[in-house]
Symmetry: C2
Amino acid sequence: MAQSSPEARYRTQAFAQLAGVTVRTLHHYDRLGLLRAKRSSNGYRLYHAGDLERLERISALKFLGVPLAHIGRILDGRPASLSEELAAQRRALREKRRLLDIALSAIEEAEAGILDGKPTAVLLRRIIQAITMQDNTGWMMQYYSPAAQAKIAERAASFTAEMQAEISQAWRQYFRDLNALEREGDQDGKRAAELAQRHRELIAAFTGDDPEIESGLAALYRDRANWPTEMQEKLAEYENPDVQTT
Amino acid sequence: MAQSSPEARYRTQAFAQLAGVTVRTLHHYDRLGLLRAKRSSNGYRLYHAGDLERLERISALKFLGVPLAHIGRILDGRPASLSEELAAQRRALREKRRLLDIALSAIEEAEAGILDGKPTAVLLRRIIQAITMQDNTGWMMQYYSPAAQAKIAERAASFTAEMQAEISQAWRQYFRDLNALEREGDQDGKRAAELAQRHRELIAAFTGDDPEIESGLAALYRDRANWPTEMQEKLAEYENPDVQTT
DNA sequence: TTGAACCCTGACGTGACGTGAGGGTCAAGA
DNA sequence: TCTTGACCCTCACGTCACGTCAGGGTTCAA
């Protein structure tokens, strides 16, 4: 094993190998001021043992997804910024993992179709369905009776991609307008009334006046206290009394 | 609801809203040749219903993490490329999720320390330990007796960051040299003998000649058939008979 | 006819480096 | 002494999927 003295100085490559990073990374951190190296008389960078500790902290925070600019503030600035950054990263990573799990299950779903020799178009359709179902509505399906689920799937299959896109566009637009209304306030209640009308139309277009689908939707809304967290947040918008039309 | 005819043409913004992407994204895909738009006489892009289907496929594959250049080949090229791409993405996403889980548990571990009012330095040390433990050796610890685990932790705590870095650098270098040896072959067996010697030294440095640690290490190696998949692959390098010194 | 709301094409910015290009430094061997 | 090779340095452009202006044209309703 190599012997180390407390005054050991390393040049760039040696220090990079010691820490398990590349030379270019050290150049980068040096220029950013994140890990400044001393210079020898010929201009070479010189690192010592104390720099290693700082570099390990940088690498650890980078592993958590913290941007380099924030890492600088954490290591040099006020200590509270660490806990704020950790909380922010935890939320961001949770969301990333949620999307990642959706992607993985979509892939696995599609790969099951490959074994049957399905053509590319069918596999792509499976992937799209797996993503949209899991991402938005998958957890909702448990509220519908099997008969209602079958009807929903049948209606969805009978739509063209264009029609489906128009429907989800209308929902997106509805939520955008609802958000805008909450931000800007409503002077005369006309905009709220118009939004409520659009909401009724969207609901009607979804149920297609089918009583089985309507009863499932009602059950879904009654149990809103148990929705997933990210839906709970969107639910707050519904709590506007002008829009409680369900 | 908006009515749609089969010959509906959309200009850029309308089509972007319909599909839930930005105008800039459509420009980008147009320039890449990924989704080419027709042009009206005044140079405006015109999209129609068939483009929407292609765009949805593009968005779905992008969601899975497939780079745009590959998406073009999948949608235009031979159909087998889809299944290859899916398999590659599945591996990549699994690895991402593994690292993401490590990061998340490291954050939660550190946040538990925040409640106790620990200073930043202690929290950072916890994060680094959580990462390195989970990433490399966490699953190994089950093979060691509680007494051996305590001794390992004690020895680790007594090392400076510099010494620990030198040890892991030596291991990294060992694996690099081992890989190089396998690629390039060994003419006279001298390099293999030298590597085997380094391996013995690294093992001895780890156990510190402690019999409890040594017996745990032996148990770990005996049970190598049950190691995690990513370690199984690294194990293949050990199967070189020159290096079976454990 | 004027303004709002569209449309277009460049072209630079983002983040964390990778990857050369072009040139200097230094110790060991011929 | 010269050369070779292994280091070192500083630009500066490339990556990836767009975001974000800047500068200028088109269309439609009031």
